[in-house]
Subunit: 338 residues, 2 copies
DNA sequence: TTGTAGGCGTTATCAT
DNA sequence: ATGATAACGCCTACAA
């Protein structure tokens, strides 16, 4: 930068001003500076910039290293978030964290990270508390139990569930079961997506004829096959299933088939909050409510950067995005007498 | 750090020395310093450190934003690489890049990134040339056509293919076909995994009885179903298929089923360089050669960091890892008379 | 073994 | 509109 200043015959300050548009610069000098920059192939040193400005323009996305989803949604999310960050002049660092404890302190305390994107948040998440205490700016992908004062971007499970039931209803289904996921059994009661989905399902079904039948199973195809049996046992005449368990959805379909039920002729299956790539791999292909991974990534970054740049005008940004219906071959009008 | 020095009654230099083990420090003073650090909850500023030492301890993983695989392998890779980086005191930033062109210059020129991990490299990759020109330290996940002078970590497709054929041979199969993947048609001839796999397949089959039958199709289940027909047409009496196309493998199985061939009774299918999570979602579950995503991530980072820290003793690090066989339900002994 | 002091390359304040 | 210059917080010869 000194070299640029010398070549353009101005001071380093002026170079900085034109580079950042931080102060008015005469068109003539600006041109000289830009020419010099071009001639020298100059790139400003981001590290020095970060030190002087006390802002590194680096974001971190925190996600649980174990117990993660393998679906295309995660990759979509990462990619989208990284791209949006890049567009806004930021970089995105990946931080898989094992325990729920305080190794996130290392990141932010080091000054390398301006803000944090928190994934797979629990309803009562110790990491949120920790981030609040250290005063680290952060945005949540998901929602805690009381998210009113927090910045978050989440899937609108309530709307999505309503739309799923509505869709099946329009096909004539009344006996609609719900299958959710679990990892071990501990997370069940504290995992927002499951809790909200089950609550909404229960509430809507209560206003209708059919019984509410919910079960949950591990996130594996094998568990899904097993779930099919349990489902038939619990509700022999069901005609439709909503599954929020990407892996189990596959097992469910083959489980039903093994039990002599055809999908979709006898039983319709809809995979909720899944990815299109996954759903297409099933045979028959699954009708799904596609998780908005790309949008979540983009809007999560937007929300965080807004906050970092003091643009979070009125309070905290809070966004809810519904999944979008993609029709596959796993749903059909209810059979006669069903 | 000034505060720490004052509290411990030493100079800032001494604090730095004990923090970095960069010069011998008397046990007594070291203890005082560490106590002071604890008392003050001091964290050294990584940005300042980076500026002064000219090393940011930040790595970037470059991967094509579009045209990416959705399998669990990518997530495994990212997670493993990020964790290993963290263990070594580095951070990993995610850089999806669109065009093959020079936006990677921005990254490295800014001084924010010490080194680069290059994914999904083509046999003749312009990015490699670019990185060489700018003198950016980098390690490749994959191999170029002439990788002798480069640092790389790649799947050993040759060994994996040999093992796959061997496995099927031992089950009595002789008529073994190969299905590879393609995105559009452009990448086919310049994509290392496909080229090496096909070459090895061809070479091995040439030494055996059975004809070599290779086809390729897009990375979608639908294309896989179509491929099943083409395969039967080309080789009506085949008894086994090796698929290096995770998505198409699913379509292949259902395609065969639709054509009246049972898997594995009539035709065995083995999915090469896939992820266990994916393969388990098939019904029947797929026998696979599991891609070593975790190992690739770890070793890729190791290779790069070795290079950065001048520890790349004798020339460039070059690692080849074979996929490991995981038996599923999609392979069986060849049927009588097959 | 420890201290002193000069950078590292920008930003930002205060003059001019 | 532009220029000097003091931070920014740490590392690292060089001295002691």
């Amino acid at each position: 930068m000194r070299d640029v200043a010398r070549l353009a015959d101005v001071s380093v300050a002026t170079v900085s001003f034109t580079l950042n548009n931080t102060k008015p610069v005469a068109p003539a000098t600006r041109e000289r500076v830009e020419q010099a920059i071009r001639d020298l192939g100059f790139r400003r040193n981001e590290v020095a910039r970060a030190l002087a400005s006390k802002r590194s323009r680096v974001l971190a996305v925190l996600y649980p290293a174990l117990q993660h989803r393998f679906g295309g949604t995660v990759v979509h999310f990462f990619t989208s978030a990284a791209r949006r960050a890049s567009e806004l002049g930021y970089n995105l660092i990946l931080s898989p964290i094992d325990n729920d404890a305080g190794q996130l302190g290392d990141l932010t305390a080091g000054g390398l990270v301006d803000g944090v994107l928190l994934m797979e948040v629990q309803l009562d998440d110790p990491r949120v508390t920790s981030l609040l205490q250290t005063g680290t700016p952060f945005a949540i992908i998901g929602r805690t139990r009381e998210p009113d004062l927090l910045t978050y971007v989440d899937i609108d499970f309530e709307t999505t569930m309503a739309a799923s039931i509505e869709y099946l209803s329009n096909l004539g289904h009344t006996r609609i079961a719900l299958v959710t996921g679990s990892v071990g059994s501990s997370l069940l009661t504290d995992y927002g997506p499951v809790v909200r989905t089950e609550a909404t399902y229960g509430a809507i079904m209560a206003t209708r004829d059919g019984d509410a039948v919910m079960i949950s199973c591990d996130e594996t195809p094998a568990a899904g096959r097993d779930a099919a049996s349990r489902l038939i046992e619990a509700s022999p005449d069901l005609t439709a299933v909503i599954v929020m368990n990407e892996q189990a959805a596959f097992g469910l379909v083959s489980g039903f088939r093994n039990l002599g039920f055809r999908v979709p002729e006898d039983i319709s299956v809809i995979s909720m909050s899944s990815s299109a790539e996954m759903a297409a791999m099933s045979d028959p292909t699954l009708t799904l409510m596609a998780a908005p991974g790309v949008e979540l990534g983009r809007m999560g970054v937007d929300a965080l950067v807004d906050k970092l740049e003091g643009r979070a005008a009125n309070g905290e940004t809070q966004v809810l995005l519904p999944c979008v219906l993609v029709e596959g071959e796993s749903t059909a009008r209810v059979r006669e007498g069903g």
